[in-house]
Symmetry: D2
Subunit: 419 residues, 4 copies
């Protein structure tokens, strides 16, 4: 069984290797194809991964290639973790909005909007390659913004795609940690979009969380108000800070000397130095600082459930298909699903908290416009997306911002600059 990692030059790759070693009994991978268009980064990562796999006793063939079709061919799972334009572009995504008094936010904000426009054409290429070279394979995507990307993949292709984020399963992890219960015993309805979700109707082995327990759990999420969580009766995604505390967050960001992209850029320099050091066969300390967010756990959970046909409750980004009535059937939402070999299907849910469906609708509307704009390269559709993003919400501002960002991303947006 072959897995391919697209964008394997990412510093996240070793984390996935580590996880695959850990669960090799349940997911008997025999070949891993590491693919990247940046051969230098790829060389560094694959060199390290080979040493690391050996150390972890993961007996698997590690192939390194810059040829997408070669990587995809014969794979059961294709895992893209690409970053078009690299961290340089990310820094623009964060700083251009900030220069206009807006939060950039590289996934759910205007920064994520630009990232989507850059990334989606590359994802479409991967989907095309899958159609030709591995039509029965699953894409296990954790490239961001995963919600908008999977919107495109579901609307414009027919590949099988699991669009993941640890943010969906995190409420279970938090409850588990704070209340000392088994994470598997924590279930909930979850409503919203990637990096913008609300877990509600939370149960532990079938019994509802008490208000006191919810308060305890909510207090553990330090980016959003626990008081607000309790009022809504939910666990909030940490990313909701950009909506519910936008003024405070904006002031904080305006004070920071370096954007998150700039910090990561420096971090990565150190990490790659370590990767290139042939003496390192174990995870270097520089990598530990980077953090991984649990992506590898989620990705391998999903692959394992599909591979072994194990019925598994999970949280994935999937087309809504009627679960939330005020969203179109094809709107990709982050919600609870049943996974097994036959695919990923949302399970029905209680109605979401009465205060939040409107916000989610507004962001989803923005996401669907962005998805369409990314595929068509239509200026007006993109502008309407940004205009209706709740963190922008002003036509004049959106237009000025979009024009600036277009200019800064000129090299990565051929569709928008075609004659």
């Amino acid at each position: 069984m072959k897995i391919s990692i697209i964008g394997a030059g990412s510093s996240y790759t070793p984390e996935l290797i580590e996880k695959l070693a850990e669960i090799k009994e349940r997911l008997p991978v025999t070949k891993i194809s590491l693919m990247d268009i940046d051969s230098k980064r790829l060389e560094a990562v694959s060199g390290f991964c080979k040493r690391y796999a050996k150390k972890l006793d993961l007996q698997v063939k590690l192939e390194s290639t810059t040829d997408l079709d070669k990587a995809v061919s014969g794979s059961s799972f294709i895992c893209p973790q690409i970053r078009v334009g690299g961290n340089i572009c990310r820094i623009n995504d964060e700083k251009i909005p900030l220069s206009m008094g807006l939060i950039g936010q590289e996934t759910t904000g205007p920064g994520g909007f630009m990232k989507a426009l850059r990334t989606i054409p590359a994802m479409m290429e991967i989907a095309d390659s899958m159609k030709k070279n591995a039509p029965d394979a699953w894409m296990i995507n954790y490239t961001n913004p995963t919600g908008i990307i999977s919107q495109v993949l579901h609307d414009y292709t027919d590949i099988k795609c699991a669009a993941l984020c640890s943010g969906g399963i995190r409420p279970a992890w938090i409850v588990s940690e704070v209340l000392g219960v088994n994470a598997k015993d924590v279930k909930y309805d979850i409503f919203g979009l990637n990096h913008l979700n609300y877990a509600y109707n939370i149960t532990i082995k079938g019994r509802s969380l008490t208000k006191h327990e919810l308060n305890k759990v909510a207090s553990d999420v330090d980016t959003v108000s626990a008081e607000l969580s309790v009022k809504l009766g939910v666990i909030l995604s940490g990313y909701l800070q950009y909506y519910y505390h936008r003024n405070t967050v904006l002031k904080k960001l305006q004070k920071e000397k370096k954007s998150r992209g700039e910090v990561v850029l420096e971090m990565e320099k150190e990490i790659f130095k370590d990767f290139n050091n042939p003496e390192f066969a174990d995870k270097p300390p520089s990598l530990k600082k980077r953090g991984g967010g649990g992506y590898s756990t989620v990705a391998t959970d999903v692959m394992t459930a599909i591979y072994n046909n194990n019925d598994t409750w999970h949280v994935v980004n999937v087309p809504n298909n009627g679960v939330f009535k005020f969203l179109p059937d094809n709107a990709v939402v982050e919600t609870a699903v049943l996974i097994n070999s036959s695919g990923i299907k949302p399970v029905t849910a209680e109605p979401p908290p009465k205060a939040v469906w409107g916000l989610i609708s507004m962001v989803k509307n923005y996401e669907m416009l962005t998805a369409e704009a990314a595929v068509t390269g239509d200026y007006d559709t993109a502008l309407m997306a940004l205009t209706h993003h709740p963190l922008v919400g002003d036509y004049d501002v959106a237009k000025k911002l979009f024009d600036k960002m277009l200019e800064a991303n000129k090299d990565y947006l051929p569709l928008f600059f075609k004659k």
Copy 2:
């Protein structure tokens, strides 16, 4: 046939008298009850109205009363035009938000939120009186915020209610004026909420408006960008300036020396001086400055269609009932309807412009929370409403703002201050 005007001490009352005189053949009113709790204003207005009716040759019995039940009894149409707390409160509605860097806006903004909380209990009293004293009568409401008020009336009472605003029919008037066609021949789908609507799919006697014509028409609306109108393919409500040009509008408001409420307050002093002048039997010049927005035309059009059982296309605030799939069935929307004696029914519509359903959902969610809060007096529901208003959109800000506004409106919100 009797009509009662509740809040008849309003300076709008003479406009309605004028209109009733104009259409007396089609709407044979025999008695008008002018009711207000402010006997001084009522006396001034009813005094003037009697002289004015005579001058207009409107032979009708004009009754003046401070007793709601008396006014309502035996009426076919009850027309509330109340302003709880008067213009003093309106000034607060505008200025408190502005002091925190937010647009107040007395109908669609946080100002309208407070107006709704103050006004709805009084509207419920009128509905109660109708149930007892005139169960078959129609309420013809043009008290603002009419959308939220009719949300409450539809959700919590079973009176017959037509919630009007000239903003719904204005696109026809504008097309008529700009293109020199008959307003009756202009039809459209219209999507949105009161003071927040989009007219689209516009036709003149069945043929679609050209892009050139749309541009010409849109250029005539000076508060919102014609360019944006054309990109969306719609005529925008002028109130959408608060959403699409919020930064510019905010700056303008911050520069103004007097809020609109303060201007109106002064204007009204002059008007009432004129009303009290027994020599005036015709509309005083002071009143002409006040403007009426075409309310009386819309109100009498609707009453005439109901009274005569004339099938009539119109735009009214009504429960959605499936016309727009992403809104709840009971969500009151401002949309195209068929009116006749059997009632007011929305007609189905083409899907609205793809860029705007999210914004409308978010505002409608806010409106429905506000409606519930106004009836229950629940602090948290009200706070969640304000938090999710797109012009606020921040929990910390919403809380601070709500607490300030509650304090300023203490005398008008018994439900929120009950033990």
Copy 3:
């Protein structure tokens, strides 16, 4: 303004001429094109119509042609009233099912199923001609089965189409007649399909019908049980006898010596003899026996409303578009609409009687399958349609019946017999 009548060799044509004369002030037709592929019938009818128009003082150019494109060109309204295969085929439609112990029923039964398969290809030709020769024209269809035909026209073409039947407005006529009120003052919600509808929520100038009045009205419909009407709280389409009293009806049909088609065939012989008699310039008595069902009234009401842009409540077959939630949006239903120049739009309705949505769903499912089968010529789709028709409801029976009927209609179903 030109109107064309397709299938003008029908004995219904004079009735339409008569009506057009009656309303010539409101619908100023200058040219009527009479088109038929049967030149002999056409000659007879057009000869008579010229004499008749003269007598009625209808000053209009009457053109007679066998060329579809010529008839359609320049028309504002195209009125098809075709009968593919003529009354001979109708007799088969009635008698083949009866020979197997089933009600044939030429519109809502298995007979109507075969009529749909024969008729739809011809209707598609008319639609094609309209697209080429009169793209802005309206088709005013009263060819049966009008529900299935308009399902096809809405699903497979984009012509403007009003699919009419007097059955939709008949409840108003009956209430008017029985209770002595103005038909225009009778309004209702109406749910169902052509020849299979339920009028409910009936009002006279806004006030509800009493149970006593309903009983009186229902007793006037002699084909269906008044007791059942009252239990359901509706006025039932007379065609519902085939569902609610099927055993009695079947026995009655089995006893009749001649089928309705055979009776009509004989009647028409006499009528055409009269048409061909140059001395007749007025409606011959033979024609009066034929009956017309009020089609011409409905057709001209609709044309007048469109032509003059008069807002008019009516009942037409239109895509459901969300009015009845348990039917697909594109499912054509017979329901209340608003008509004016901008088109025909269903108005929303109260939920239908709780006992009948399932039956309507089952018949609509059959209709949609029949529509698809008629366009594609797919044997299995047609067989599944007939199998799931509630008056058949048996796979073995459906198969035997369909094979017999296919054989009998071989000359009219090229799509089903293509290699």
Copy 4:
């Protein structure tokens, strides 16, 4: 952990004991309460069950009682398997319709209609007892008609209820048997109602069944046409013979000397003779002839998944909740679900075969009317249910039939005979 069996005097009880012995590791039951109102049957069954449990080495306390509250108290799972009126009533259910030329069918036919009316009041008593004595317990219902019964339980109570039938999981068993694959690896979407379902979109470990395989599998179901199965692309419930082959089935039933109820009645005499024989500690041969339909497997699968919080794909009767758009949200359907400790939730499904949604809607409409009639005792609602049942479909027939059946069931329908 305690389980109670209500109606334990049924000959099915030993099968459940046997299964509980088999899975005792996974479902550690410590006490089983056998409850019945018929103390004689209860004595026979519980006597045998004690001997049988001992033989199977199931170390559990077996309590025997005629007191419902006592049985329910402290139970984790309550398993009703009641038959109100016994087999005598069943014989009426089958024979009265047959005497009028209709299929009786004790679950999906008019027979099932009467069984529902008799059974539902008793089920409501059990639900009441659960509310008082075991509010957190699950009802595991396999009393028929389980679809209508669970419709009532979901609409009128808030107990937790799993309404089961082996018919939902049977397609997996058949595919497993015919194609030699693991039943757990067979997944599908399933649409319909209890004893009236269609399994489609069938996969084996994620790959679709070929047409050839489907044909092979369908040929194994001997009650319905394999040809029809293949045309629809589904595995049909065997009970669909009453719809798709109703004429053949009717003739067959009319020829049979004894109804199924009469056969069972005789069989049971023999079985109870064996139960009462203290020498039998193993399943007597008479019992083997009775058949059990796999109920015990399904019941224990579900209890195990809930008890152990094991995510499990299954097929259960649950409120639709948006999965099938043309059915109301509260309509109970038999469909694929995810079960774990937090409950039973339908998973979303591909649209069902295009030919069958209408039939299911019609039967569901009948079921919902029957549910309401059973709870209210309203004659008209019951009559409308029977009138719209596709196997009746005639008002005159329904009325005659209902009156006969009411008379025959007088002793069991107090709600219908109350003054």
